[in-house]
């Protein structure tokens, strides 16, 4: 029988390794577990059904356009490397890599590269035949930085354009090149870079970029905790945090548990999550709360109890529901090894 096998953990040091602490296990009533199990099986079946002949997935059920974000998340959700579906997805990801090492948003896109490069690198982690491609992707990520890192824009944001409160010295990654850093692409890039076992052989910049990205996330938190899309204060008004942006940022800050901004953000997310009725945000929140050692058993049950969750039109949402339902494996896939 399926169980939510949840193991809280915390970091040992500034490195991105995590140490197992306790073996608390949530024993959920069998009827509830059965329901969770059925729903998660249905989600998996639906994901398999939606795989396109290309080997990838489209963003929406009604679409036939292979898109990289759903493909990476679905491959992670299905999980098993032995699976033919996952192997076909990995082949697709390798096939569509841009010549510059980045990945496009979808099959047929321009070849400049976008934020999904981080997700592709995560999806290809532990795939031996993908090592060269993954390293090229990591190389592109290291060259890609928010526009505010340039001295000219830094000067502009310090002097004449001060309506958005942030420190331009603390920059991360943009959604697409030639724009400024935002929370989600920065968090994904931190997760992707942190999965590398070492920072040698041309990858020496990894620790610096990761640390700077973490500083950026901390700098741009909302005043009461949590994260909006990119900044906490605009024109003097505090922005409201978004549950999904907050959760993704907290995953990237999994080894900064003791930082006050992280603590207040985890508390905010924990209070907010039970009120969420949208599976995308709820699933991300489950993963983030689990990563920070909070109880998620009842939240998984709430997630699988949402109406029509296995028929959700959005493929990324389906994949996330599946990942949240098996959060221990999902966190391992994101580099948070127990």
């Amino acid at each position: 029988m399926w169980q939510c096998d949840y193991l809280p953990f915390e970091p040992t040091s500034a490195s991105h390794q995590y140490r197992f602490l306790t073996g608390e296990r949530f024993h959920i009533k069998s009827a509830v577990v059965k329901n969770d199990c059925v729903v998660l099986s249905n989600v998996l079946a639906e994901l398999n059904r939606r795989q396109l002949p290309s080997g990838g997935w489209a963003a929406l059920r009604s679409s036939a356009q292979t898109s990289l974000e759903p493909t990476c998340l679905a491959a992670l959700a299905i999980g098993s490397e032995d699976s033919d579906a996952v192997r076909r997805a990995q082949d697709l990801i390798l096939r569509v890599q841009n010549p510059n090492g980045s990945w496009p948003a979808f099959f047929g896109d321009d070849q400049d590269g976008v934020w999904v490069t981080s997700l592709a690198a995560i999806a290809l982690c532990d795939v031996a035949r993908a090592i060269p491609a993954r390293l090229r992707g990591i190389g592109w990520l290291l060259k890609c930085e928010g526009k505010e890192s340039n001295w000219l824009w830094k000067w502009k944001f310090r002097t004449v354009d001060r309506h958005v409160r942030f420190d331009p010295d603390k920059f991360g990654w943009p959604w697409i090149p030639d724009t400024v850093s935002w929370v989600v692409p920065t968090a994904f890039a931190i997760l992707a870079l942190s999965q590398l076992p070492c920072s040698c052989g041309g990858l020496e910049d990894i620790p610096v970029r990761v640390d700077r990205g973490i500083e950026m996330l901390i700098d741009r938190a909302c005043p009461g905790g949590g994260w909006n899309a990119g900044n906490g204060v605009v024109y003097g008004s505090a922005l409201a945090p978004h549950p999904d942006d907050t959760a993704i940022a907290l995953l990237a800050l999994g080894n900064r548990t003791q930082h006050p901004v992280v603590q207040i953000s985890v508390d905010w997310l924990e209070q907010t999550t039970p009120t969420l009725t949208a599976p995308w945000s709820l699933a991300w929140a489950v993963l983030a709360l689990a990563a920070h050692g909070r109880a998620v058993g009842s939240l998984i049950t709430s997630l699988t109890a949402l109406p029509d969750v296995s028929a959700n039109d959005d493929t990324c949402t389906l994949a996330l529901v599946r990942l949240a339902g098996d959060c221990r494996r999902a966190l391992a896939a994101l580099g948070m090894n127990l």
């Binding site: 489209a58 963003a59 929406l60 679409s63 036939a64 356009q65 898109s67 974000e69 948003a105 979808f106 896109d109 976008v114 934020w115 526009k147 309506h163 943009p174 959604w175 697409i176 030639d178 724009t179 400024v180 935002w182 989600v184 692409p185 909006n228 899309a229 990119g230 605009v234 024109y235 003097g236 008004s237 922005l239 409201a240 978004h242 549950p243 999904d244 942006d245 969420l276 009725t277 949208a278 599976p279 995308w280 945000s281 039109d313 959005d314 990324c316 949402t317």
Partner: protein, 327 residues
């Protein structure tokens, strides 16, 4: 002095080089003129969001010669984020009333479509703002434009210097596209009305949340390029409760009690700007749009329903846009 052949060639080359640099500044940045000879705008008075909007809107739409028989109608509301108490989004009651009216007018299919600007969880915004249940109850399809199929589309204007954008199939294939903005002051664009509302069609899955490239290329310029490329056939603007100050998210609710209908987005935005107490030709995208997209001059706008009266107190704006105030 008789010019030598060499001097003549050098002079011609210099002239050609100079022209190639300077001429683009004087040529229009739009590829074709779509402005109608005359436009029609109706201002409807509605005090509050209630079921009465159905009747008011249906009678307002009868003031226009609209033909949606057997057409696919796409309603594009302004759906940004949800903050309790803030008048951020086009109210779902108005969107449902519009859907019902177009269905009664014989539309083959009515779709509500939007791509929220910086909230990735579209379903959460739909749920919190009251859309999800309403759309489900009325069996109206919603398309998340941030994740729709994308088609590379050549832009029909070159204000922002991009040749093409990836745009969603649902919008490109619409037979009749209705922009349904919330009337708001906007801290980067001055106002967000029917033209600015169209930036919501630019997909987040390709350009991010927010679509930051549009800010860097220039918001006014982006609005013009997108509106030149995707024709807006009709406007239903929600000004029952509008927003002033630090919009589009953190401004103050401003009861205006108006719905603005128009067959021309420039004329619609001109009227809305006047209702806000602004001089429309001081809003860059309205002024430039009036050269090729629609009408700004009152002489070219047939005003039906109420006559636009500037408010006693104009809408508050951030300091950078105080020049919008009518003298």
């Amino acid at each position: 002095m008789i010019p030598s052949r060499r001097n003549f060639l050098v002079g011609s080359a210099a002239l050609a080089a100079g022209a190639s640099v300077s001429v683009p500044f004087f040529l229009p940045k739009y590829h074709s003129v779509r402005r109608a000879k005359r436009s029609r705008v109706a201002i409807l008075h509605v005090e509050e969001y209630s079921q009465r909007i159905d009747q008011v809107l249906a009678s307002g739409l009868r003031l226009f010669p609209i033909d949606v028989q057997d057409k696919t109608v796409v309603l594009k509301p302004n759906l940004v984020d949800y903050i309790p108490g803030n008048a951020i989004n086009t109210h779902p009651i108005l969107v449902l009333a519009a859907a019902e009216s177009f269905r009664r007018m014989g539309a083959k299919c009515v779709i509500v479509a939007e791509g929220p600007g910086h909230q990735r969880d579209t379903e959460l915004v739909l749920s919190q703002s009251g859309y999800r249940e309403s759309l489900r109850d009325e069996d109206i399809r919603f398309v998340d434009l941030n994740r729709d199929e994308l088609i590379r589309t050549q832009l029909c204007a070159s204000f922002m210097g991009m040749r093409s954008l990836w745009l969603p199939r649902t919008v490109l294939e619409a037979d009749f596209l209705v922009s349904m903005p919330k009337i708001k002051a906007h801290h980067w664009a001055g106002v967000t009305l029917s033209m600015k509302n169209m930036l919501g069609v630019v997909p987040g899955s390709r350009y991010g949340w927010p679509k930051n490239i549009l800010h860097w290329k220039g918001i006014q310029e982006s609005i013009l390029d997108v509106c030149a490329t995707i024709p807006v056939h009709f406007v239903i603007a929600d000004g029952i409760v509008a927003m002033e100050g630090n919009g589009p998210l953190n401004g103050t609710a401003r009861p205006l009690g108006k719905i603005v209908l128009a067959d021309d987005p420039v004329a619609a935005d001109t009227t809305c700007a006047r209702l806000m107490g602004f001089e429309p030709d001081r809003v860059v995208h309205i002024r430039e749009g009036a050269k090729f997209l629609g009408n700004l001059s009152p002489a070219l706008i047939d005003q039906v329903g109420e006559i636009p009266q500037p408010p006693t107190t104009p809408f508050q704006v951030v300091p950078e846009f105080r020049h919008l105030y009518a003298l």
